[in-house]
Assembly symmetry: C2
Homo-oligomer: 192 residues x 2
DNA sequence: GTCTATAGGATGATAGAC
DNA sequence: GTCTATCATCCTATAGAC
């Protein structure tokens, strides 16, 4: 239990450095120095640098997969599902903001087996989102624009949220959800 | 003139690799191998790895600064200015997509003097965009949501466009502009 | 759990031959 | 303009003492 706590501490430090400089620009010495120990000591708690990356990324990826699967099963309108997806992203941003940086920027540095699993989860996630949008279009709840443009537009906003959320002082989460849903669903131009 | 062409060739190869793996995961040996020469030979054309990064990033950053300054001077409505900014991003995405990856992901690896200049340009750019939004709100052209949410939402979509533009087969640029403006300005929900 | 010492290899860059 | 050879430094990771 003591080692588990120490391991977690390493992961927290590593995630902060990965976020600031990227996986490849952070050395084991950097992480160790930040903790006040020597690099060799890290290996008593973790198997290597790769473990840090995959732990960080896969934990967050599973949150997304789990959350999306929950939303898909709901028996509500497409608009309501999209609202819930937006809220899911904001919740994950608030709770896993450090891991999100690794997931967004360093996923390609995962080792082969982890990479494969990650890409699969990501594709499934996008496909579920795509289906929700298409169902909304069929039901007349959503504009019949090219669904890919909408999917991409919403997803890139939500995926980058972690960068911006920390730069501003931590905002009220419920207010942020409300504003974000409004802007992403209805745009910035008032109705005529 | 011959050397200039060779130099350009190196930059093209480097930008592709940087985009795929990130600046720190690409070695001079990787770049050289891709060109069929040895790493040492690269130094006849460029001063070092840093020059490749700063050349790529600053070229694109200047395009943004130049384009934004042009839009700001126009005597048109705020909505029209935002439309022009969206089109500016799409034009740059189409013409400088490789450099955009470096700008988005590896700007923090610029050396001190270049980094300073880049951050300044980026802040000025955002501030100009912010002013356009605020003017639009005052004029009643734009919803009075928190301007930061709108700014962030639009900018993160536009900044990530390069990832998505290449994944799909190259789309018709004018159609993309039209769809993008529609989604970003009016959202995805049809007017009641 | 942390240390020192070190293996074994990659990295950016230079010197000098051709 | 490209090569070989090489330097000095950094990297991840291991072995073994305390």
């Amino acid at each position: 239990m003591e080692t588990l706590s120490r391991k977690q501490e390493i992961i927290v430090v590593a995630s902060r450095l990965f976020k600031e400089r990227g996986y490849n620009a952070v050395s084991m010495r950097d992480i160790a120095q930040e903790m006040g120990i020597k690099a060799a000591s890290l290996y008593n708690h973790i198997s290597g640098k790769q473990e840090l990356l995959s732990t960080l990324i896969l934990e967050v990826a599973r949150e997304f997969t789990f959350g999306m699967n929950r939303v898909v099963k709901e028996e509500v309108s497409s608009i309501e599902k999209i609202t819930q997806v937006i809220e899911l992203h904001i919740d994950i941003t608030v709770n896993f903001s450090e891991g999100l940086a690794a997931l967004n920027n360093d996923w390609m540095h995962l080792e082969a087996t982890d990479l494969e699993g990650f890409v699969k989860m990501r594709e499934d996630y996008e496909e579920n989102f795509r289906i929700i949008l298409k169902q909304g279009i069929e039901a007349g709840e959503i504009q019949s624009h090219h669904p890919e443009v909408m999917l991409f537009s919403i997803l890139s906003t939500l995926r980058t949220l972690y960068v911006w959320y920390q730069k501003r002082g931590k905002l009220d989460v419920n207010l942020l959800k409300k504003d974000m849903v409004a802007v992403l669903l209805h745009g910035i131009v008032p109705p005529k």
